[in-house]
Protein backbone atom coordinates (compact mmCIF):
# COMPACT_ATOMS: atom_id res chain seq x y z
CA UNK A 1 0.00 0.00 0.00
CA UNK A 2 1.18 3.53 -0.58
CA UNK A 3 -0.79 5.63 -2.96
CA UNK A 4 0.25 9.27 -2.86
CA UNK A 5 -1.73 12.13 -4.23
CA UNK A 6 -1.00 15.84 -4.24
CA UNK A 7 -3.69 18.27 -5.20
CA UNK A 8 -3.10 21.96 -5.80
CA UNK A 9 -0.07 21.96 -3.52
CA UNK A 10 1.57 25.38 -3.19
CA UNK A 11 4.39 26.76 -1.09
CA UNK A 12 5.58 30.27 -0.51
CA UNK A 13 8.49 31.53 1.55
CA UNK A 14 7.23 34.98 2.50
CA UNK A 15 6.48 36.76 -0.75
CA UNK A 16 8.29 34.21 -2.92
CA UNK A 17 6.17 31.49 -4.50
CA UNK A 18 8.35 28.43 -4.75
CA UNK A 19 5.76 25.76 -5.60
CA UNK A 20 2.94 27.11 -7.73
CA UNK A 21 0.25 24.48 -7.61
CA UNK A 22 1.29 20.87 -8.18
CA UNK A 23 -1.16 18.04 -8.89
CA UNK A 24 0.28 14.56 -8.91
CA UNK A 25 -0.85 10.97 -8.46
CA UNK A 26 1.67 8.27 -7.59
CA UNK A 27 0.21 4.79 -7.73
CA UNK A 28 0.95 2.05 -5.24
CA UNK A 29 4.39 0.55 -5.90
CA UNK A 30 5.34 3.17 -8.44
CA UNK A 31 8.81 4.70 -8.70
CA UNK A 32 8.35 8.40 -9.29
CA UNK A 33 11.30 10.69 -10.04
CA UNK A 34 11.32 14.49 -9.79
CA UNK A 35 13.77 16.15 -12.14
CA UNK A 36 14.37 19.76 -13.00
CA UNK A 37 17.05 22.44 -12.97
CA UNK A 38 18.61 23.57 -9.69
CA UNK A 39 16.28 25.70 -7.57
CA UNK A 40 13.07 24.57 -9.29
CA UNK A 41 11.61 23.31 -6.01
CA UNK A 42 12.21 19.54 -6.18
CA UNK A 43 13.54 19.30 -2.65
CA UNK A 44 10.91 21.66 -1.32
CA UNK A 45 8.14 19.52 -2.81
CA UNK A 46 9.66 16.36 -1.38
CA UNK A 47 10.05 17.95 2.04
CA UNK A 48 6.40 18.97 1.94
CA UNK A 49 5.43 15.35 1.28
CA UNK A 50 7.65 14.39 4.22
CA UNK A 51 6.09 17.01 6.47
CA UNK A 52 9.37 18.81 7.05
CA UNK A 53 8.02 21.94 5.39
CA UNK A 54 4.55 23.41 5.97
CA UNK A 55 2.16 23.25 3.04
CA UNK A 56 0.93 26.73 2.12
CA UNK A 57 -2.05 25.51 0.11
CA UNK A 58 -3.58 22.32 -1.27
CA UNK A 59 -3.52 18.88 0.25
CA UNK A 60 -1.38 15.75 0.46
CA UNK A 61 -3.01 12.36 0.92
CA UNK A 62 -1.44 8.95 1.39
CA UNK A 63 -3.70 5.93 0.91
CA UNK A 64 -6.71 8.18 1.12
CA UNK A 65 -5.65 9.62 4.49
CA UNK A 66 -5.14 13.38 4.56
CA UNK A 67 -1.61 13.87 5.91
CA UNK A 68 -1.25 17.54 4.97
CA UNK A 69 -0.83 18.69 8.55
CA UNK A 70 0.52 15.58 10.26
CA UNK A 71 4.00 15.66 11.83
CA UNK A 72 6.62 13.69 9.82
CA UNK A 73 6.84 10.79 12.24
CA UNK A 74 3.13 10.01 11.90
CA UNK A 75 3.00 9.97 8.10
CA UNK A 76 4.34 6.42 7.68
CA UNK A 77 7.10 7.62 5.39
CA UNK A 78 10.87 7.26 5.43
CA UNK A 79 13.42 9.55 3.89
CA UNK A 80 16.99 9.13 2.65
CA UNK A 81 19.07 12.29 2.49
CA UNK A 82 21.91 13.37 0.25
CA UNK A 83 24.21 13.87 3.23
CA UNK A 84 23.24 10.46 4.74
CA UNK A 85 22.26 12.17 8.02
CA UNK A 86 23.19 9.23 10.24
CA UNK A 87 23.17 9.85 13.98
CA UNK A 88 26.87 10.16 14.82
CA UNK A 89 26.53 8.94 18.41
CA UNK A 90 24.72 5.70 17.58
CA UNK A 91 25.96 2.45 16.08
CA UNK A 92 24.66 1.28 12.74
CA UNK A 93 22.22 -1.04 14.47
CA UNK A 94 20.87 1.72 16.71
CA UNK A 95 20.69 4.13 13.81
CA UNK A 96 18.51 1.69 11.94
CA UNK A 97 16.37 0.80 14.94
CA UNK A 98 15.76 4.27 16.35
CA UNK A 99 12.45 4.96 14.63
CA UNK A 100 10.94 1.70 15.83
CA UNK A 101 12.30 2.30 19.31
CA UNK A 102 10.70 5.75 19.35
CA UNK A 103 7.42 4.20 18.25
CA UNK A 104 7.63 1.82 21.21
CA UNK A 105 8.13 -1.51 19.45
CA UNK A 106 9.48 -4.42 21.53
CA UNK A 107 13.25 -5.00 21.46
CA UNK A 108 13.09 -8.42 19.83
CA UNK A 109 11.00 -7.09 16.98
CA UNK A 110 13.38 -4.18 16.40
CA UNK A 111 16.30 -6.59 16.35
CA UNK A 112 14.62 -8.84 13.83
CA UNK A 113 13.72 -5.88 11.61
CA UNK A 114 17.24 -4.44 11.63
CA UNK A 115 18.75 -7.88 10.95
CA UNK A 116 16.44 -8.37 7.99
CA UNK A 117 17.27 -4.96 6.53
CA UNK A 118 20.99 -5.47 7.15
CA UNK A 119 20.90 -8.79 5.33
CA UNK A 120 19.12 -7.19 2.40
CA UNK A 121 21.84 -4.54 2.04
CA UNK A 122 24.78 -6.72 3.18
CA UNK A 123 25.41 -4.56 6.20
CA UNK A 124 25.71 -7.47 8.65
CA UNK A 125 29.39 -6.96 9.32
CA UNK A 126 28.97 -3.27 10.05
CA UNK A 127 26.17 -3.36 12.58
CA UNK A 128 28.28 -2.45 15.59
CA UNK A 129 30.24 0.35 14.00
CA UNK A 130 29.71 4.07 14.37
CA UNK A 131 28.94 6.06 11.19
CA UNK A 132 32.32 7.82 11.42
CA UNK A 133 34.02 4.49 10.72
CA UNK A 134 32.13 3.83 7.46
CA UNK A 135 32.86 4.80 3.88
CA UNK A 136 30.49 7.05 1.95
CA UNK A 137 28.84 4.18 0.12
CA UNK A 138 28.39 2.20 3.32
CA UNK A 139 26.87 5.21 5.04
CA UNK A 140 24.34 5.64 2.28
CA UNK A 141 23.45 1.96 2.47
CA UNK A 142 22.91 2.33 6.21
CA UNK A 143 20.68 5.33 5.53
CA UNK A 144 18.67 3.25 3.07
CA UNK A 145 18.56 0.45 5.63
CA UNK A 146 17.25 2.85 8.24
CA UNK A 147 14.43 3.72 5.85
CA UNK A 148 13.58 0.07 5.14
CA UNK A 149 13.41 -0.95 8.81
CA UNK A 150 10.37 1.25 9.36
CA UNK A 151 8.38 -0.50 6.62
CA UNK A 152 6.97 2.82 5.45
CA UNK A 153 4.18 3.25 2.95
CA UNK A 154 6.31 5.69 1.03
CA UNK A 155 10.06 6.09 0.54
CA UNK A 156 11.44 9.55 -0.16
CA UNK A 157 14.93 10.07 -1.58
CA UNK A 158 16.57 13.47 -1.99
CA UNK A 159 19.53 13.11 -4.35
CA UNK A 160 20.83 10.11 -2.41
CA UNK A 161 23.69 9.37 -4.79
CA UNK A 162 25.11 12.85 -5.38
CA UNK A 163 27.85 12.50 -2.78
CA UNK A 164 29.14 9.20 -4.13
CA UNK A 165 31.81 8.71 -6.77
CA UNK A 166 30.84 7.55 -10.25
CA UNK A 167 31.41 3.80 -9.80
CA UNK A 168 29.64 3.67 -6.46
CA UNK A 169 26.80 5.71 -7.87
CA UNK A 170 26.10 3.12 -10.54
CA UNK A 171 26.31 0.29 -8.03
CA UNK A 172 24.01 1.96 -5.51
CA UNK A 173 21.60 2.92 -8.28
CA UNK A 174 21.28 -0.71 -9.24
CA UNK A 175 20.83 -1.59 -5.60
CA UNK A 176 17.98 0.90 -5.24
CA UNK A 177 16.30 -0.46 -8.38
CA UNK A 178 16.57 -3.98 -7.00
CA UNK A 179 15.23 -2.84 -3.66
CA UNK A 180 12.24 -1.28 -5.37
CA UNK A 181 11.53 -4.56 -7.15
CA UNK A 182 11.95 -6.63 -3.98
CA UNK A 183 9.92 -4.43 -1.66
CA UNK A 184 7.36 -3.31 -4.21
CA UNK A 185 7.16 -0.06 -2.25
CA UNK A 186 6.13 3.34 -3.52
CA UNK A 187 9.12 5.62 -3.93
CA UNK A 188 9.56 9.29 -4.74
CA UNK A 189 13.07 10.19 -5.79
CA UNK A 190 14.65 13.57 -6.47
CA UNK A 191 17.64 13.86 -8.76
CA UNK A 192 19.11 16.09 -11.38
CA UNK A 193 20.94 13.20 -12.97
CA UNK A 194 19.41 12.26 -16.33
CA UNK A 195 20.59 8.69 -16.20
CA UNK A 196 19.23 8.06 -12.71
CA UNK A 197 15.89 9.47 -13.74
CA UNK A 198 15.66 7.48 -16.96
CA UNK A 199 16.86 4.18 -15.50
CA UNK A 200 14.97 4.16 -12.20
CA UNK A 201 11.67 5.82 -12.94
CA UNK A 202 8.30 4.36 -13.78
CA UNK A 203 7.16 7.94 -13.97
CA UNK A 204 9.14 11.14 -14.34
CA UNK A 205 7.86 14.52 -13.18
CA UNK A 206 9.67 17.39 -14.89
CA UNK A 207 9.55 20.56 -12.77
CA UNK A 208 10.47 24.09 -13.71
CA UNK A 209 10.11 27.16 -11.51
CA UNK A 210 7.73 25.40 -9.15
CA UNK A 211 5.40 24.12 -11.87
CA UNK A 212 5.01 20.70 -13.44
CA UNK A 213 6.07 20.83 -17.08
CA UNK A 214 5.18 17.26 -17.94
CA UNK A 215 4.53 13.92 -16.27
CA UNK A 216 5.10 10.61 -18.01
CA UNK A 217 7.10 7.42 -18.39
CA UNK A 218 10.75 8.01 -19.33
CA UNK A 219 10.34 6.93 -22.96
CA UNK A 220 7.13 8.89 -23.28
CA UNK A 221 8.93 12.08 -22.26
CA UNK A 222 11.81 11.24 -24.56
CA UNK A 223 9.74 10.40 -27.62
CA UNK A 224 6.83 12.72 -27.06
CA UNK A 225 7.80 15.88 -25.15
CA UNK A 226 5.11 18.52 -24.62
CA UNK A 227 7.37 21.55 -24.96
CA UNK A 228 10.89 22.75 -25.68
CA UNK A 229 11.83 22.66 -22.01
CA UNK A 230 11.08 18.98 -21.56
CA UNK A 231 12.53 18.19 -24.99
CA UNK A 232 15.77 19.94 -24.05
CA UNK A 233 15.92 18.63 -20.50
CA UNK A 234 15.38 14.94 -21.17
CA UNK A 235 18.07 13.29 -23.25
CA UNK A 236 21.80 13.77 -23.23
CA UNK A 237 23.37 15.31 -25.21
CA UNK A 238 20.60 17.87 -25.48
CA UNK A 239 18.15 18.00 -28.38
CA UNK A 240 19.13 20.33 -31.23
CA UNK A 241 16.71 23.16 -31.96
CA UNK A 242 16.56 24.22 -35.60
CA UNK A 243 15.35 27.53 -36.87
CA UNK A 244 12.18 26.50 -38.78
CA UNK A 245 11.97 29.74 -40.78
CA UNK A 246 15.35 29.09 -42.41
CA UNK A 247 14.09 25.72 -43.62
CA UNK A 248 10.75 26.99 -44.87
CA UNK A 249 8.72 25.23 -42.17
CA UNK A 250 5.64 26.81 -40.63
CA UNK A 251 6.53 26.11 -36.98
CA UNK A 252 8.67 28.43 -34.86
CA UNK A 253 11.39 25.90 -34.15
CA UNK A 254 12.03 22.25 -34.85
CA UNK A 255 13.83 19.85 -32.54
CA UNK A 256 15.94 16.92 -33.62
CA UNK A 257 17.77 14.48 -31.35
CA UNK A 258 21.56 14.30 -31.86
CA UNK A 259 21.34 10.62 -32.81
CA UNK A 260 18.90 11.47 -35.62
CA UNK A 261 21.44 13.65 -37.38
CA UNK A 262 23.63 12.04 -40.06
CA UNK A 263 26.95 13.62 -40.88
CA UNK A 264 27.73 13.48 -44.60
CA UNK A 265 30.51 14.73 -46.84
CA UNK A 266 28.28 15.89 -49.67
CA UNK A 267 25.52 18.48 -49.66
CA UNK A 268 22.64 17.82 -47.25
CA UNK A 269 19.70 19.61 -45.62
CA UNK A 270 22.03 21.67 -43.47
CA UNK A 271 25.63 22.64 -44.18
CA UNK A 272 28.28 23.65 -41.67
CA UNK A 273 31.82 23.21 -40.41
CA UNK A 274 33.02 20.84 -37.71
CA UNK A 275 33.95 22.88 -34.63
CA UNK A 276 34.78 20.10 -32.17
CA UNK A 277 34.82 16.31 -31.97
CA UNK A 278 34.48 14.20 -28.80
CA UNK A 279 35.43 10.52 -29.11
CA UNK A 280 33.96 8.40 -26.33
CA UNK A 281 34.87 5.01 -27.80
CA UNK A 282 31.38 3.61 -28.21
CA UNK A 283 30.12 6.83 -29.72
CA UNK A 284 31.43 10.02 -31.24
CA UNK A 285 29.94 13.46 -30.70
CA UNK A 286 30.46 15.86 -33.59
CA UNK A 287 29.75 19.54 -32.95
CA UNK A 288 28.93 21.36 -36.17
CA UNK A 289 28.72 25.10 -36.50
CA UNK A 290 25.98 26.16 -38.92
CA UNK A 291 24.97 29.51 -40.36
CA UNK A 292 21.25 29.31 -39.64
CA UNK A 293 20.96 27.16 -36.52
CA UNK A 294 24.08 27.86 -34.47
CA UNK A 295 25.95 24.94 -32.94
CA UNK A 296 24.39 21.52 -33.56
CA UNK A 297 25.40 18.21 -32.01
CA UNK A 298 25.44 14.94 -33.93
CA UNK A 299 25.82 11.65 -32.09
CA UNK A 300 27.42 8.91 -34.17
CA UNK A 301 27.87 5.32 -33.10
CA UNK A 302 31.35 3.86 -33.15
CA UNK A 303 34.51 5.77 -33.98
CA UNK A 304 34.54 8.45 -36.67
CA UNK A 305 37.29 10.71 -37.92
CA UNK A 306 36.21 14.22 -38.70
CA UNK A 307 38.80 16.97 -38.95
CA UNK A 308 37.96 20.15 -37.07
CA UNK A 309 37.25 22.88 -39.61
CA UNK A 310 36.17 20.58 -42.41
CA UNK A 311 32.89 21.27 -44.21
CA UNK A 312 30.15 18.68 -43.64
CA UNK A 313 26.46 18.26 -44.33
CA UNK A 314 23.84 17.26 -41.78
CA UNK A 315 20.90 15.14 -42.86
CA UNK A 316 17.81 13.99 -40.99
CA UNK A 317 14.47 12.35 -41.49
CA UNK A 318 11.85 15.16 -41.54
CA UNK A 319 9.34 12.78 -39.93
CA UNK A 320 11.50 12.64 -36.79
CA UNK A 321 11.37 16.39 -36.20
CA UNK A 322 9.50 17.83 -33.20
CA UNK A 323 7.74 21.07 -34.04
CA UNK A 324 7.22 23.85 -31.48
CA UNK A 325 5.37 27.18 -31.57
CA UNK A 326 6.95 30.43 -30.47
CA UNK A 327 5.97 29.88 -26.79
CA UNK A 328 7.79 26.58 -26.89
CA UNK A 329 4.62 24.44 -26.99
CA UNK A 330 4.66 21.32 -29.08
CA UNK A 331 2.69 21.38 -32.35
CA UNK A 332 1.34 17.91 -32.95
Amino acid sequence: MGQLSLSGVTKNFGPVDVIKGVDLQVADGEFCVFVGPSGCGKSTLLRMIAGLEDVSGGSVTLDGRDITHLPPARREIAMVFQSYALYPHLTVRDNMGLALKQAGHPKAEIRAATDRAAALLSLDALLDRRPAKLSGGQRQRVAIGRAIVRRPKLFLFDEPLSNLDAALRVQTRIEIAKLHRDLGATMVYVTHDQVEAMTLADKIVVLRGGRVEQIGAPMQLYNDPDNTFVAGFIGSPQMNFLNSGAMGLSSHSAGVRPEQLQVTDGPAAIGGTVSHVERLGGETLVYVHTQDHGLLTARLFGEHDRAVGSAVGLGFDPARLFHFDKDGRRLR
Partner: protein, 279 residues
Protein backbone atom coordinates in the same frame (compact mmCIF):
# COMPACT_ATOMS: atom_id res chain seq x y z
CA UNK B 1 46.28 20.29 10.09
CA UNK B 2 49.11 20.56 7.62
CA UNK B 3 51.20 17.48 7.09
CA UNK B 4 53.85 19.27 5.07
CA UNK B 5 57.31 19.21 6.51
CA UNK B 6 58.80 22.60 7.24
CA UNK B 7 62.43 23.55 7.26
CA UNK B 8 64.03 23.24 10.73
CA UNK B 9 64.93 26.93 10.76
CA UNK B 10 61.33 27.97 10.31
CA UNK B 11 60.13 25.53 12.93
CA UNK B 12 62.75 26.85 15.31
CA UNK B 13 61.77 30.46 14.68
CA UNK B 14 58.11 29.65 15.20
CA UNK B 15 58.86 27.91 18.44
CA UNK B 16 61.08 30.75 19.61
CA UNK B 17 58.24 33.22 19.09
CA UNK B 18 55.75 30.93 20.83
CA UNK B 19 58.07 30.35 23.78
CA UNK B 20 58.66 34.07 24.12
CA UNK B 21 54.91 34.62 24.16
CA UNK B 22 54.42 31.96 26.81
CA UNK B 23 57.11 33.56 28.97
CA UNK B 24 55.52 37.00 28.69
CA UNK B 25 52.05 35.65 29.39
CA UNK B 26 53.10 33.53 32.34
CA UNK B 27 55.40 36.08 33.93
CA UNK B 28 52.83 37.83 36.19
CA UNK B 29 51.45 34.48 37.28
CA UNK B 30 54.94 33.24 37.99
CA UNK B 31 55.83 36.31 40.05
CA UNK B 32 52.59 36.06 42.01
CA UNK B 33 52.99 32.41 42.84
CA UNK B 34 56.71 32.63 43.64
CA UNK B 35 56.33 35.62 45.90
CA UNK B 36 53.42 34.11 47.75
CA UNK B 37 55.91 31.67 49.26
CA UNK B 38 58.37 34.33 50.50
CA UNK B 39 58.71 36.51 53.53
CA UNK B 40 57.62 40.12 53.24
CA UNK B 41 61.18 41.42 53.28
CA UNK B 42 62.24 39.03 50.53
CA UNK B 43 59.30 40.07 48.34
CA UNK B 44 60.53 43.66 48.30
CA UNK B 45 64.30 43.12 48.22
CA UNK B 46 64.35 40.53 45.44
CA UNK B 47 60.92 40.18 43.84
CA UNK B 48 62.14 37.91 41.05
CA UNK B 49 64.20 35.51 43.15
CA UNK B 50 62.96 32.02 43.86
CA UNK B 51 62.21 31.29 47.51
CA UNK B 52 65.41 30.04 49.19
CA UNK B 53 65.88 28.36 52.59
CA UNK B 54 66.05 31.70 54.40
CA UNK B 55 63.37 33.52 52.39
CA UNK B 56 60.80 30.71 52.26
CA UNK B 57 57.80 31.66 54.35
CA UNK B 58 54.23 30.47 54.42
CA UNK B 59 53.04 33.47 56.40
CA UNK B 60 50.79 34.57 53.54
CA UNK B 61 48.95 31.27 53.49
CA UNK B 62 48.74 31.22 57.26
CA UNK B 63 47.18 34.67 57.31
CA UNK B 64 44.73 33.66 54.62
CA UNK B 65 43.80 30.55 56.55
CA UNK B 66 43.30 32.45 59.80
CA UNK B 67 41.69 35.64 58.68
CA UNK B 68 38.21 35.61 57.29
CA UNK B 69 36.50 32.48 56.07
CA UNK B 70 38.43 31.80 52.94
CA UNK B 71 37.02 28.38 52.39
CA UNK B 72 33.54 29.88 52.36
CA UNK B 73 34.61 32.63 49.94
CA UNK B 74 36.03 29.97 47.72
CA UNK B 75 32.87 28.00 47.87
CA UNK B 76 30.82 31.11 47.06
CA UNK B 77 32.94 31.83 44.02
CA UNK B 78 32.68 28.28 42.80
CA UNK B 79 28.94 28.11 43.30
CA UNK B 80 28.35 31.43 41.55
CA UNK B 81 30.66 30.61 38.66
CA UNK B 82 29.43 27.08 38.06
CA UNK B 83 25.75 27.94 38.38
CA UNK B 84 26.03 30.98 36.11
CA UNK B 85 28.05 28.98 33.62
CA UNK B 86 25.47 26.23 33.59
CA UNK B 87 22.60 28.65 33.11
CA UNK B 88 24.41 30.65 30.42
CA UNK B 89 25.22 27.49 28.47
CA UNK B 90 21.74 26.00 28.85
CA UNK B 91 19.70 29.10 28.03
CA UNK B 92 22.23 30.38 25.52
CA UNK B 93 22.15 27.11 23.60
CA UNK B 94 18.36 26.91 23.75
CA UNK B 95 17.92 30.46 22.48
CA UNK B 96 20.54 29.89 19.79
CA UNK B 97 18.74 26.74 18.65
CA UNK B 98 15.42 28.53 18.42
CA UNK B 99 16.95 31.41 16.49
CA UNK B 100 18.86 29.25 14.05
CA UNK B 101 16.29 26.50 13.57
CA UNK B 102 12.81 28.00 13.52
CA UNK B 103 11.36 30.53 11.13
CA UNK B 104 9.09 32.91 13.01
CA UNK B 105 8.09 36.52 12.80
CA UNK B 106 10.73 38.76 14.36
CA UNK B 107 13.45 36.13 14.35
CA UNK B 108 16.17 38.49 13.12
CA UNK B 109 14.99 41.26 15.41
CA UNK B 110 15.07 38.91 18.37
CA UNK B 111 18.59 37.81 17.44
CA UNK B 112 19.77 41.41 17.27
CA UNK B 113 18.07 42.21 20.57
CA UNK B 114 19.78 39.29 22.26
CA UNK B 115 23.14 40.26 20.79
CA UNK B 116 22.79 43.88 21.91
CA UNK B 117 24.23 42.97 25.30
CA UNK B 118 27.60 42.30 23.68
CA UNK B 119 27.95 45.98 22.86
CA UNK B 120 26.34 47.52 25.95
CA UNK B 121 28.23 46.76 29.17
CA UNK B 122 25.94 45.43 31.87
CA UNK B 123 27.63 47.66 34.44
CA UNK B 124 25.83 50.65 32.94
CA UNK B 125 22.70 49.24 34.53
CA UNK B 126 24.24 48.76 37.96
CA UNK B 127 21.99 51.24 39.73
CA UNK B 128 18.84 49.77 38.23
CA UNK B 129 20.04 46.26 39.01
CA UNK B 130 20.77 47.23 42.61
CA UNK B 131 17.30 48.78 42.95
CA UNK B 132 15.74 45.59 41.57
CA UNK B 133 17.75 43.42 43.92
CA UNK B 134 16.76 45.59 46.89
CA UNK B 135 13.13 45.45 45.82
CA UNK B 136 13.20 41.67 45.52
CA UNK B 137 15.22 41.22 48.68
CA UNK B 138 18.06 39.48 46.88
CA UNK B 139 20.83 41.78 48.07
CA UNK B 140 23.66 39.88 49.75
CA UNK B 141 22.61 36.56 48.24
CA UNK B 142 24.46 34.44 45.72
CA UNK B 143 21.25 34.30 43.68
CA UNK B 144 21.70 37.99 42.86
CA UNK B 145 25.16 37.34 41.47
CA UNK B 146 24.06 34.26 39.53
CA UNK B 147 21.21 36.18 37.93
CA UNK B 148 23.40 39.11 36.94
CA UNK B 149 26.18 36.92 35.57
CA UNK B 150 23.74 34.82 33.61
CA UNK B 151 22.38 37.98 32.01
CA UNK B 152 25.93 39.18 31.38
CA UNK B 153 27.03 35.96 29.71
CA UNK B 154 23.99 35.25 27.56
CA UNK B 155 24.48 37.69 24.66
CA UNK B 156 27.86 36.35 23.62
CA UNK B 157 26.73 32.77 24.19
CA UNK B 158 23.65 33.20 21.99
CA UNK B 159 25.68 34.96 19.33
CA UNK B 160 28.45 32.38 19.09
CA UNK B 161 26.24 29.32 19.51
CA UNK B 162 23.63 30.36 16.95
CA UNK B 163 26.40 30.74 14.36
CA UNK B 164 27.61 27.23 15.13
CA UNK B 165 24.14 25.74 15.22
CA UNK B 166 23.40 27.06 11.77
CA UNK B 167 26.25 24.86 10.57
CA UNK B 168 24.70 21.67 11.97
CA UNK B 169 23.27 19.67 9.09
CA UNK B 170 19.55 20.24 8.49
CA UNK B 171 19.28 16.73 7.14
CA UNK B 172 20.35 15.29 10.49
CA UNK B 173 17.67 17.20 12.38
CA UNK B 174 15.10 16.27 9.76
CA UNK B 175 16.07 12.61 9.95
CA UNK B 176 15.41 12.86 13.67
CA UNK B 177 12.00 14.40 13.06
CA UNK B 178 11.06 11.65 10.64
CA UNK B 179 12.18 9.03 13.15
CA UNK B 180 9.90 10.60 15.73
CA UNK B 181 12.37 12.36 18.02
CA UNK B 182 10.94 15.31 19.92
CA UNK B 183 12.44 18.74 19.38
CA UNK B 184 14.01 18.46 22.85
CA UNK B 185 15.66 15.15 21.98
CA UNK B 186 16.89 16.62 18.71
CA UNK B 187 18.35 19.56 20.61
CA UNK B 188 19.95 17.62 23.46
CA UNK B 189 21.00 14.43 21.69
CA UNK B 190 21.80 15.50 18.13
CA UNK B 191 22.66 19.19 18.10
CA UNK B 192 24.37 19.83 21.45
CA UNK B 193 27.02 17.10 21.05
CA UNK B 194 27.90 18.51 17.64
CA UNK B 195 28.45 22.04 18.95
CA UNK B 196 30.41 20.88 22.00
CA UNK B 197 33.59 22.71 20.92
CA UNK B 198 31.63 25.94 20.62
CA UNK B 199 30.09 25.31 24.04
CA UNK B 200 33.59 24.95 25.51
CA UNK B 201 34.69 28.19 23.88
CA UNK B 202 31.68 29.99 25.31
CA UNK B 203 32.28 28.36 28.70
CA UNK B 204 35.83 29.67 28.95
CA UNK B 205 34.95 33.15 27.78
CA UNK B 206 32.04 33.28 30.23
CA UNK B 207 33.75 31.73 33.21
CA UNK B 208 36.85 33.88 33.53
CA UNK B 209 35.20 37.31 33.81
CA UNK B 210 32.73 35.90 36.33
CA UNK B 211 35.42 34.39 38.52
CA UNK B 212 37.51 37.55 38.41
CA UNK B 213 34.69 40.04 38.86
CA UNK B 214 34.96 42.46 41.76
CA UNK B 215 32.27 44.98 40.81
CA UNK B 216 29.05 43.09 41.37
CA UNK B 217 30.14 41.20 44.51
CA UNK B 218 31.16 44.55 45.99
CA UNK B 219 27.83 46.18 45.15
CA UNK B 220 25.31 43.38 45.35
CA UNK B 221 26.75 40.91 47.84
CA UNK B 222 29.39 42.43 50.13
CA UNK B 223 28.20 40.61 53.26
CA UNK B 224 30.50 38.11 54.93
CA UNK B 225 28.30 35.15 54.01
CA UNK B 226 28.07 35.98 50.30
CA UNK B 227 31.60 37.24 49.65
CA UNK B 228 33.45 35.79 46.68
CA UNK B 229 37.16 35.07 46.67
CA UNK B 230 38.10 38.18 44.67
CA UNK B 231 36.21 40.37 47.09
CA UNK B 232 37.53 38.42 50.06
CA UNK B 233 41.13 39.04 48.99
CA UNK B 234 40.53 42.77 49.17
CA UNK B 235 40.62 42.79 52.97
CA UNK B 236 44.40 42.58 52.77
CA UNK B 237 44.64 45.65 50.57
CA UNK B 238 44.34 48.65 52.85
CA UNK B 239 44.53 52.33 52.00
CA UNK B 240 47.77 52.68 53.95
CA UNK B 241 49.15 49.21 54.54
CA UNK B 242 48.72 46.15 52.40
CA UNK B 243 49.46 42.63 53.53
CA UNK B 244 51.21 41.58 50.36
CA UNK B 245 51.94 38.05 51.57
CA UNK B 246 48.29 37.41 52.13
CA UNK B 247 47.18 39.09 48.89
CA UNK B 248 49.61 37.02 46.84
CA UNK B 249 48.68 33.83 48.63
CA UNK B 250 44.97 34.48 48.11
CA UNK B 251 45.50 35.25 44.44
CA UNK B 252 47.63 32.14 43.95
CA UNK B 253 44.88 30.06 45.46
CA UNK B 254 42.26 31.80 43.32
CA UNK B 255 44.09 30.77 40.16
CA UNK B 256 43.68 27.07 40.89
CA UNK B 257 39.96 26.45 40.29
CA UNK B 258 39.89 28.41 37.00
CA UNK B 259 42.92 26.48 35.93
CA UNK B 260 41.14 23.21 36.60
CA UNK B 261 37.99 24.31 34.77
CA UNK B 262 40.10 25.60 31.92
CA UNK B 263 41.92 22.29 31.61
CA UNK B 264 38.57 20.52 31.43
CA UNK B 265 37.38 22.75 28.60
CA UNK B 266 40.65 23.38 26.79
CA UNK B 267 40.74 20.22 24.71
CA UNK B 268 37.34 21.12 23.31
CA UNK B 269 38.28 24.79 23.12
CA UNK B 270 41.24 24.23 20.85
CA UNK B 271 39.09 22.14 18.56
CA UNK B 272 36.45 24.88 18.55
CA UNK B 273 38.88 27.62 17.63
CA UNK B 274 40.61 25.69 14.88
CA UNK B 275 37.29 24.47 13.47
CA UNK B 276 36.16 28.08 13.26
CA UNK B 277 39.40 29.06 11.54
CA UNK B 278 39.35 26.29 8.98
CA UNK B 279 35.70 26.64 8.00
Amino acid sequence: MSQTRQSPARTLAAHAVLILWVLIALFPVFVTVVNSFKSKKAIFTAPLALPGPDTFDLVGYRTVAQQGDFLAYFQNSLVVTCLSLFLVLLFGAMAAFALSEYRFRGNTLMGLYLALGIMIPIRLGTVAILQMMVATGLVNTLTALVLVYTAQGLPLAVFILSEFMRSVSDDLKNAGRIDGLSEYRIFFRLVLPLVRPAMATVAVFTMIPIWNDLWFPLILAPSESAKTITLGSQVFLGQFVSNWNAVLAALSLAILPVLVLYLIFSRQLIRGITAGAVK
